[in-house]
C-alpha cells in the first residue's frame, strides 16, 4: 500500500510537471514559439513605400522617383579575392558616380574614394553581408551582372530624381537619411511635408520551400505599402525658369555675393516663383555644405532699407496723419535725433518736399517727418499688422523666427531709422507679403507653396488664406500705389521701366550691420513692386547681397526686376497701357 502511494505521488508530480510544461508551451510561450517557427518557413520581405512626387502648377513632376539599385556582397559566397572584385567594380562604379556629379573635385577624388570604400567593405571582418554602392543606375547594374561575380547581388532602391536639375532647389529641399537609415526630407518642401511624402512601408510574409520559392497553397500575408502623397505646388514652372535664368545672369553681371527673387500672387498668397543664387543640385546634395540648403528668402533676415518706406507711408496715410501733398517742414537738411544725424542717401535735401516726392527721392528726412507724425504706438501697431513681427507661416521648413524688440525698448532714434527700413530685420517673404497688402487693397494673405495634396483618387485642396482683412483701407492702398508708380516713373530707376507699362515699386539700398556699426562699402540692394497696378498679377522682390558693380538698388535690383517683369507681362498677356 505504501509503495502504491509513493508511486501515485511520483506519477502525480510527473503529470503535473508535464501539464505545467505544456501550459507554458501552449499558453505562455505560445506567441514566441509561433514566431520562431514562422521565421523558419516564412520569408518576410519589406516592401518600401514610394515617396510622393512634387509637381509644379502645370502638373509637371519636378521631383519624382527613379529606379535604382543597391549593390551588395555576400562575403562567404565570394569566389574571387576582394582585390580582384575591387579592381573589377571600381571603374564601373566610378563611371556611375561621375555620371551624376558636376563637381570637378568630386571627379578627381571619385575613383580613389570608391576604391577605398570597396576595399574596406570587401575585407570587413565578422560580416556576411556588406553594401558596396547605393542608388546605382540600371545600366551600371547590367554592367556588373555581365561580370558574373558570384556573391555580388542587387536590391531595388528608389532614388529621388530631379528632371529640371537644380530648378527651385531651395524650395524643394533634399532627401537624406535619418538615424535609422530611412529616407527623410530636410529643408524646404521635403522637410515641411515629410510626413505626407514618405508614406508607410508594407511587408509580405510568405511560406517558402527549401529553395525559397513561394508555396502556392502556403500562407501569404501581404501588408500593402502606403505610398507617399503627391504634392502640387503653386510654383509656376515657366515663371521659375524665367526668374532663375535672369537672376543667375544678374548675380554675375553685378558681381553680387548672392541674389534672390520672390514672385507672389498678391491676392491669394500663392508663391509663383522663389529663387536664390548661388544654389545647389538636390540630386548631389552631398557635395555641398549645409549652409547651401537654407532658403535665403525665408531663412535670412536683412534690413530692408528704403523699400520699407512704403509700409511706413501706408500706415501714416491710413491714419490720416499725412496726405500725398503734405509738405515736410523739417526736410531742408540733416535731422539731429538723440545725438545722431539723419541724412539723405545722396546728401541732397528738398525743403517743403511732398510725401509723393519723399518716396520718389527716397528721402530719409521725409520719412523721419512721417514717423514723427505717426508716433511710436501707431507705427509699432502697423508693423505688427503687416505681419513683420512673426513668421509668415509659409509651408517651408526653414523660415526664420523673427520678432520685434519690445515697444518699451524703442527710443526716438529707433523709430526714426525704422521708418526708412534701418534697424529692423525682416525676411524677404515678409517684405513681399507686406507689399501685397498695398497691391490687393488691404488684406494680409498667408504665403503658400503647396496648393494640393493628392492621395490616390482623393485630393485635398489648400485654399488661400486671408489672415487679416482691411488692414489698410482700399483708398489708402490706391493712394500709396499711385505714389509708388510715381516713384518708379520719376525716380532713380525710371530708365529701366518697360515703355508703356505702369509698375508700382520702390528701390532699397541698406547698409549691412557688422559688429555694431554699418559697413560703408557693403550693401543689400533691393527692389519691390507689383504690376499691372489696376489688377496686379504679381508682386516681386529682387534682392542682391553685396553687389560690387554698383551698391544701389536702383542700378542693380531695379533693372533685374524690370527685366523679369518684361517677360512676365508677355506670359500673363499684359499689354502696354496697363
Amino acid at each position: 500500500m505504501f509503495r502504491y502511494r509513493i508511486t501515485a505521488v511520483i506519477f502525480g508530480f510527473a503529470i503535473s510537471a508535464i501539464l505545467l510544461r505544456l501550459l507554458y508551451w501552449q499558453v505562455l510561450a505560445s506567441d514566441n514559439l509561433v514566431r520562431r517557427g514562422e521565421k523558419q518557413y516564412f520569408l518576410k520581405l519589406e516592401v518600401p513605400a514610394s515617396r510622393g512626387e512634387i509637381r509644379t502648377s502645370d502638373n509637371y513632376p519636378i521631383v519624382t522617383n527613379k529606379q535604382a539599385y543597391l549593390v551588395y556582397a555576400r562575403l562567404p559566397d565570394l569566389e574571387k579575392s576582394p582585390k580582384e572584385i575591387r579592381d573589377l567594380l571600381t571603374p564601373i562604379l566610378t563611371d556611375d558616380y561621375l555620371s551624376k556629379t558636376a563637381s570637378e573635385s568630386a571627379r578627381l577624388s571619385g575613383f580613389e574614394e570608391i576604391e577605398n570604400r570597396l576595399d574596406e567593405a570587401l575585407n570587413a571582418q565578422n560580416l556576411i553581408w556588406v553594401a558596396l554602392a547605393h542608388k546605382v543606375s540600371s545600366e551600371t547594374k547590367e554592367k556588373i551582372e555581365g561580370l558574373n561575380i558570384k556573391g555580388i547581388g542587387f536590391e531595388n532602391e528608389k532614388e529621388r530624381y530631379y528632371p529640371e536639375a537644380s530648378m527651385a532647389a531651395h524650395v524643394l529641399g533634399i532627401v537624406g537619411s535619418n538615424d535609422t537609415g530611412d529616407p527623410t526630407g530636410y529643408f524646404g518642401i521635403e522637410g515641411y511635408y515629410d510626413n505626407q511624402l514618405k508614406g508607410r512601408p508594407g511587408s509580405i510574409d510568405q511560406e517558402r520551400d527549401a529553395q525559397s520559392r513561394p508555396i502556392l497553397t502556403g500562407l501569404y500575408r501581404p501588408v500593402d505599402p502606403k505610398d507617399g502623397r503627391n504634392l502640387t505646388l503653386t510654383i509656376n514652372r515657366t515663371i521659375q525658369y524665367i526668374v532663375e535664368k535672369k537672376l543667375a545672369q544678374a548675380v554675375e553681371k553685378y558681381q553680387a555675393k548672392s541674389g534672390s527673387v520672390i514672385v507672389m500672387d498678391p491676392k491669394t498668397g500663392a508663391v509663383l516663383s522663389m529663387a536664390s543664387f548661388p544654389n545647389y543640385n538636390p540630386q548631389n546634395w552631398q557635395e555641398y555644405s549645409e549652409d547651401s540648403f537654407k532658403n535665403p528668402v525665408v531663412a535670412d533676415t536683412y534690413e530692408p532699407g528704403s523699400t520699407f518706406k512704403v509700409i511706413s507711408m501706408s500706415a501714416a496715410i491710413n491714419e490720416k496723419e499725412v496726405k500725398p501733398s503734405t509738405k515736410c517742414d523739417i526736410c531742408a537738411g540733416p535731422i539731429e535725433i538723440g545725438g545722431f544725424s539723419i541724412r539723405t542717401w545722396n546728401n541732397k535735401y528738398y525743403p517743403q518736399t511732398t510725401m509723393t516726392e519723399t518716396l520718389q527721392h527716397s528721402d530719409n528726412t521725409g520719412m523721419v517727418f512721417v514717423s514723427k507724425k505717426l508716433g511710436l504706438n501707431k507705427f509699432y501697431k502697423y508693423i505688427k499688422d503687416f505681419g513683420l513681427d512673426s513668421p509668415t507661416g509659409v509651408d517651408l521648413q526653414d523660415e526664420a523666427q523673427t520678432s520685434l524688440r519690445p515697444k518699451n525698448d524703442w527710443k526716438e532714434i529707433d523709430l526714426a531709422t525704422a521708418s526708412f527700413g534701418q534697424g529692423i530685420a525682416i525676411t524677404g517673404i515678409q517684405m513681399v507679403r507686406a507689399v501685397s497688402v498695398i497691391a490687393n487693397g488691404g488684406n494680409l494673405v498667408k504665403p503658400q507653396i503647396v496648393s494640393k495634396i493628392s492621395d490616390g483618387d482623393k485630393t485635398i485642396r489648400i485654399e488661400p488664406e486671408i489672415e487679416k482683412k482691411n488692414l489698410i483701407s482700399k483708398e489708402t492702398a490706391e493712394i500709396v500705389t499711385e505714389m509708388m508708380v510715381n516713384a518708379v516713373e520719376n525716380g532713380e530707376a525710371k530708365y529701366f521701366l518697360p515703355k508703356g507699362f505702369k509698375v508700382a515699386g520702390k528701390t532699397g539700398t541698406a547698409q549691412i550691420p557688422i559688429d555694431g556699426h554699418y559697413d560703408p562699402n557693403k550693401t543689400i540692394a533691393s527692389f519691390v513692386g507689383f504690376a499691372p497696378v489696376d489688377d496686379p498679377k504679381f508682386v516681386m522682390l529682387v534682392r542682391f547681397t553685396e553687389p560690387t558693380t554698383s551698391q544701389f538698388g536702383s542700378e542693380t535690383a531695379a533693372p533685374t526686376f524690370f527685366d523679369i517683369a518684361r517677360d512676365l507681362f508677355a506670359y500673363f498677356g499684359v499689354y502696354p497701357g496697363r
Binding site: Q67, S138, K158, P163, E164, M167, R213, L216, R237, G500
Partner: protein, 114 residues
C-alpha cells in the same frame, strides 16, 4: 416491439445488395478508388510544385514591369524639362525674342497709314 418488427426488413435489404456484389468486387472497387486518388494527388502535387515557380516568375515580371514603368516616367519627365526644350528649340534654329511688339487693339490691323 417496433424494433423487432423493423429488423427483419433491413436485414432483407442488405442481403439483397450484398448478394449482387461479391467481396472480391468490393475489394477491387475500393482499390480502384484509392489508386485514382493517389494518381490525382501526384498530379496535383506536381501542378502545385511548378505553380510555385510560375508564381515566382510572375512576381519577378510584375517587379520588372514596375521598374520599367518608373524608368519610362523619369525619361518622359527628362524629355519634358524646360532646359531640354530650350536646347531642342535652339537646335531647331529658334532664338529668344529680344523685343516685344504689341499691336494696339484700338487701331485696325489693316489701317492705311498714308
Amino acid at each position: 416491439m417496433r424494433n423487432l418488427i423493423m429488423q427483419p426488413a433491413r436485414q432483407q435489404y442488405s442481403s439483397a445488395i450484398l448478394g449482387r456484389f461479391s467481396a472480391r468486387h468490393i475489394f477491387f472497387f475500393l482499390a480502384a478508388i484509392i489508386g485514382f486518388l493517389l494518381i490525382l494527388q501526384i498530379i496535383l502535387s506536381n501542378i502545385l510544385a511548378t505553380s510555385g515557380e510560375n508564381l515566382a516568375k510572375i512576381d519577378s515580371l510584375i517587379n520588372q514591369t514596375k521598374q520599367e514603368n518608373s524608368k519610362l516616367k523619369a525619361e518622359i519627365a527628362q524629355e519634358g524639362s524646360l532646359s531640354n526644350v530650350e536646347t531642342k528649340a535652339k537646335e531647331l534654329g529658334m532664338i529668344e525674342a529680344s523685343k516685344f511688339v504689341y499691336i494696339d487693339r484700338t487701331v485696325p490691323v489693316a489701317q492705311n497709314l498714308r
